[in-house]
């Protein structure tokens, strides 16, 4: 078991190192590619996907899926910007944005458990609903937020150099560590794994699986909401058309990091590495001056290879 666990982190980690090494060579300027400045750029770009990947890991481990991440990010970025525009204190605006994400997740959870709609469809519906609501509350425009300290949260170069990375990066790391502990060491976390591993067994053991699912989607929603706040912080405005398709990056991060869409498997550490793999690939491609479509093709290939390697490993492991 331990070897297996170790492998599930080591494989994506090797992939990450491989990607970094590849571009360090390809760009011909390893000192620039590996510089702190470039690392700051990559990490700042990763925050939005990484935060959402924390929530998505929980959902995927429970054998669920959430397709409404991008729309939820757009909605919560708009809500945060609106709160600021209406003169709310920044902290209250952050809470408003985050909680909005939680409410979207709660509605997803209720649709899945009370209306018995499978997660794929329930969240596909929410993808449209949340995007539409975002456009409605934003009056179909971007919402400009007055400058506050929120704009500092996810910047590439923090104004206080001693911070090294933007506060959003540190927040992501802290939350990733916390949620790793929650998933591994709490009753709730182990039940998330049990639910994804064998739902019928979990129910037969007296676990209220419906209640558990509602919690999972709601908590994940909080993370998507926080991603929305970061989105607002980076753009300095709420944009109802932003973050289209981000859910696919988020799912890819979890899967590259060893998550299994059939549930029971996945780790937040792996998902963080998965998010970094994609960020470094994008960053490297940009530095090489490759057009956007090349990045898209490369990332697509990487996702398939990552899962193929994982399948190969598990099929060998069971024989």
């Amino acid at each position: 078991m331990e070897a297996r666990k170790a492998f599930s982190i080591i494989a994506p980690l090797l992939g990450l190192i491989g990607v970094i090494a590849l571009f360090a060579v390809l760009t011909g300027a390893p000192e620039r590619y590996l510089s702190t400045a470039n690392l700051r750029v990559v990490l700042a770009q990763t925050v939005i996907v990484a935060l959402s990947a924390i929530g998505m890991t929980m959902i995927i481990v429970s054998a669920g899926i959430d397709l409404s991440v991008g729309a939820t990010i757009a909605l919560t970025s708009v809500v945060t910007a609106l709160a600021l525009r209406d003169g709310w204190p920044p902290a209250a605006a952050i809470v408003a944005g985050t909680l909005t994400g939680g409410i979207v997740g709660l509605i997803n959870g209720l649709a899945i458990t009370r209306l018995h709609v499978v997660p794929f469809i329930a969240t596909l519906g929410m993808l449209g609903i949340a995007r539409g609501v975002a456009k409605y509350v934003a009056d179909q425009q971007t919402v400009n937020a007055p400058p506050t300290w929120i704009n500092e949260v996810a910047v590439t170069f923090p104004s206080r150099p001693w911070m090294l990375f933007a506060p959003g990066v540190w927040l992501t790391i802290a939350l990733a560590v916390m949620m790793t502990l929650v998933l591994r060491r709490t009753v709730f976390g182990r039940r998330v794994f049990a639910l994804g591993s064998n739902e019928a067994a979990a129910r037969a053991c007296g676990i209220h699986t419906d209640r558990l699912k509602i919690w999972i989607y709601s908590i994940a929603g909080l993370f998507f909401g926080l991603s929305g706040v970061m989105q607002m912080s980076r753009l300095r405005q709420g944009d109802p058309t932003v973050a289209v398709g981000v859910e696919l990056d988020v799912i890819a991060a979890v899967v590259i990091g060893g998550g299994s869409l059939s549930g029971g498997e996945g780790s937040i550490g792996g998902a963080m590495i998965g998010a970094l793999v994609m960020a470094f690939l994008r960053n490297g491609s940009q530095q090489m001056g490759w057009p956007n479509y090349v990045q898209e093709i490369i990332i697509g290939v990487v996702i398939v290879i990552a899962v193929a390697v994982d399948r190969y490993r598990t099929s060998r492991g069971t024989e």
């Binding site: 078991m1 009753v187 019928a200 067994a201 979990a202 037969a204 053991c205």
Partner: protein, 483 residues
């Protein structure tokens, strides 16, 4: 002293009457066998006891207190645990996590891992299975060990009544004995065990009392020491004439060789198998589960990589998987679709299906095998296990191959259905088919086959005529590996 008492339990599903007056009394520290044909209502009864369904009528009491669970969680709290036929564990979790799932020791939501592993280890020790590591991922355990985990899970919740549904169906003999020792310990603890099995000799070995269900009614109850097997079977079958035992055709003439296999190896399970199969004969493959029998058949059908010095084949293969639900049938499709699936060309022209022709062909196979269903359009998922197995066999009949590879053709089906299935297999052989059949159940092999070869640790013994084998000599080869 009666612990669990059921009186006049009734249950309907729409127009179907599943239970029609069941009485059952089980004392603490008693192993009580519930026997009956498939479809007699055993599963429904277990589901009512374990809180999965509510009964429509009748009373249940546990320790003198009325008992009517609204869901499985409440049944568990009341101390009734259901050990499922298909194991209900979480493969990704550790052994200890599975045992204590739902009752994890914790403080403020944080798992108390030390207590969890200690409790799990203590339970395993108590049942003499200390070698199972509670830290290990459950999917790495053998099926037999996973069953131990499931039983320990029930104990961890202070179960007073355990419902065991065919607990030996996927165990080999040595593990069955270990299970029986475990059941005896449970009994000594005062736990009441309701034991469902198709194997009468097994029931006699472990249970003291029995109740027979027939058509949703409890028709007989008493001490097993006071009845003969013949009486039990007549309770199960009732007034209906029991189908004649499969006719034992005299040694069929030497048919032409259709399959010749020399030194087939399919690592890691199969090391060496050589045999000759002739038209008109039934060659049985005996052996323990895990000895490589299933893998041998799968390798022949091309489902597993294999090498061989020589394979000569004159004809076509048909394959019946031991895993009916996953490989044998498309449960969501109709009987007609399932029966005609391997050879749709018989009811199609230029790629277009002739549905009337398909239904007619399916109806023929259903009649021949006595499949109980309203019509060929019924979904297979709605049939009982025995009828599903007949449909799976019907697919082979329709395919009409020269060689039939049958893996556990009578798994999990009742006696009457089993007789139907074996009568059909004998008839197929008589009509010139060659049959290679794997079975865990010796009386079945001895009753049906012309020759038997025994698989032991991946090596197949030479095939010998049935007259040269006894149950004891087969077991000896299976366990010892010498032929």
């Amino acid at each position: 002293m009666t612990l669990l008492k059921l009186h006049a339990i009734e249950k309907r599903f729409g127009p179907t009457i599943a239970l029609d007056g069941v009485d059952l009394e089980v004392a603490a520290g008693e192993v009580h066998a519930v026997i009956g044909e498939n479809g007699a209502g055993k599963s429904t009864l277990m589901n009512i006891l374990s809180g999965a369904f509510a009964s429509d009528r009748g009373e249940m009491s546990l320790d003198g207190i009325p008992y009517a669970p609204i869901d499985p969680a409440e049944a568990r709290r009341a101390g009734i645990a259901h050990i499922h036929q298909e194991l209900a564990l979480c493969p990704h979790l550790s052994v200890a996590e599975n045992m204590l799932l739902g009752t994890e020791p914790s403080a403020f939501g944080w798992l108390d891992r030390q207590t969890m592993f200690e409790r799990a280890a203590a339970l395993l020790r108590e049942f003499g299975r200390a070698e199972i590591d509670p830290h290990v991922r459950t999917s790495n355990l053998s099926l037999a060990d996973q069953q131990v985990v499931e039983i320990c899970r029930a104990l961890a919740r202070d179960a007073r009544v355990m419902l065991m549904d065919e607990p030996t169906s996927s165990l080999q003999r040595s593990n069955v004995e270990r299970l029986f020792r475990m059941i005896q310990k449970l009994r000594d603890r005062g736990i009441a065990i309701i034991y469902i099995s198709h194997f009468l000799e097994e029931v006699r070995e472990i249970a003291e009392r029995f109740t027979v269900l027939r058509d949703g009614k409890s028709v007989a109850t008493g001490a097993l020491s006071g009845v003969t097997d013949a009486e039990l079977i007549s309770f199960m079958v009732g007034g209906r004439p029991s189908p004649a035992a499969s006719p034992r055709p005299l040694p069929r003439g030497e048919g032409s060789v259709v399959l010749e296999v020399e030194n087939l190896a399919a690592p890691p399970r199969v090391h060496s198998a050589s045999f000759v199969l002739r038209r008109g004969e039934i060659l049985g493959i005996a052996g323990l589960i895990g000895s490589g029998r299933t893998e041998l058949i799968r390798a022949l059908f091309g489902l597993q990589r294999a090498t061989a010095t020589r394979i000569r084949l004159h004809g076509s293969f048909g394959y019946l998987s031991e895993d009916r639900k996953r490989e044998g049938l498309a449960l969501a499709l109709s009987i007609a679709d399932n029966i005609t699936m391997s050879r749709l060309s018989t009811c199609a022209r230029a790629g277009w299906l002739n549905l009337r022709q398909q239904a007619a062909q399916a109806r023929d196979a259903m009649q021949r095998l006595r499949v109980k269903a309203a019509g060929p359009e019924i979904k297979v998922a709605r049939l009982s296990g025995g009828n599903q197995q007949k449909v799976a066999l019907g697919r082979l009949l329709h395919q009409d191959p020269d060689i039939l590879l049958l893996d556990e053709p009578a798994r999990g089906i009742d006696i009457a259905t089993r007789q139907d299935v074996f009568a059909e297999i004998a008839q197929l052989a008589a009509s010139g088919k060659a049959i290679l059949m794997v079975s865990s159940y010796l009386p079945e092999l001895l009753g049906v086959c012309d020759r038997i070869a025994v698989m032991s640790r991946g090596r197949l013994s030479p095939a010998r005529p049935i007259s040269e084998w006894t149950a004891d000599s087969i077991m000896e080869v299976a366990i010892g590996g010498s032929a």
